[in-house]
Symmetry: D2
Subunit: 127 residues, 4 copies
């Protein structure tokens, strides 16, 4: 019950159905870099992340209920896969928008952008 209430609350916050609070949060936060490549897919990203959040809460329930370790590990693999799919989608949009824009813009910025993206991919590979 409490858990469900929490999930509902999170869903409301993310879906913007509690405009007062979400709105004020938006007022307070100054986004450091404005809209990015992934911005137009925001709702699909949030949906995906909320599903992963639900899986992590599911893992907590499994531990609380002494579920068999191997079944917990299977759920961990599913959550990790979900996170990596999210990362890949974000990365694709980043390459398509930010990196491509740097290339079109010319100058040395493309080298920085590519080095930065490669470092992010290396971090994903090494986790």
């Amino acid at each position: 019950m409490t858990d469900t209430a929490a999930e509902t609350a999170v869903t409301q916050a993310a879906a913007g159905s509690a405009p007062g609070s979400t709105g004020s949060a938006a007022d307070e936060i100054v986004s450091p870099q404005g809209p990015h490549g992934y911005s137009h897919d925001k709702e699909s990203h949030l949906k995906r992340l909320r599903r992963i959040e639900g899986q992590i809460r599911g893992l907590q329930r499994m531990v609380e209920q002494d579920v068999y370790c191997i079944d917990i590990l299977t759920q961990v693999s599913a959550s990790t896969k979900g996170l990596q799919s999210f990362a890949l989608q974000l990365l694709e949009e980043h390459l398509r928008h930010c990196v491509a824009a740097a290339a079109v813009g010319g100058g040395p910025e493309i080298d920085e952008k590519v080095a930065e993206a490669t470092a992010a991919i290396a971090r994903l590979l090494r986790t």
Copy 2:
């Protein structure tokens, strides 16, 4: 604000400070296999999972606030790393308790247990 309320609710549920609802959930679910190797470390596992849950919620806020893609990817790597550390700890306890017990017990069960553990490791590697 709503988000904070949600976090509090989840924390309460997980910490058992809302005994009514958590308790009834425990009544309804019949744990399929009783306490396992990881059971004595339950609180440390739950703490770890709640930290990961917080990171996933952090990712949602980052998406909502149009944070730079590369910074989001860095946070994804941290969450994935957290999940893998959790999996490794669970696996270690599983090997020490369940697999070792099957070996001591003798008979063909050890082969099943080892094949099952290896399949779980393969799933972790391939995500």
Copy 3:
């Protein structure tokens, strides 16, 4: 001894110190897409790959000599790391040259190139 002879032969072939055979191979093969982003770093890539090849041969010797399993697994991790570093360097050059060129060129090619690069990253992540 045979092994050392083999290593020498491979090194000669790769280093081009047997110009007759290497030269004729180059004549016979029609590169499907000409020089790519990574071409100017060819020698460093080949050096890296020859080191990995040496590690794989080292693994064979370890198996032949009944070396302790855990030590073999450590060597497997080192070889996998070597392969991933190679992949990351190749990917960086690909993004900097091929993907950037597609962006500058305009048109729909950038979408294809980005999708293709993302799919390659996904394959690296899922191995």
Copy 4:
């Protein structure tokens, strides 16, 4: 041509068809820990590793011939997958034999063996 000669030499060395040299190598090396769990599957392991070695040599040829980067990355993924399958098989045999034996033997050795195996799995995960 030189490359083919090298491949033949390696195959001979591995298959033991050059008994003089391979034999003397076996004489010189004192295996630190005798036969292990994986020993009875030696020939299948060596076959697998020779195939991976062939893939790494294939990667060198691809680089020499300016093959398209994405195709090289696909081959890297295949080689990494091959290495991980080899590692998983080795690990399974290690758990079934060495770890199980430590459990049956009793005493603190099982803790060491499990910690050691978990550390090896962590290294595989983090590459």
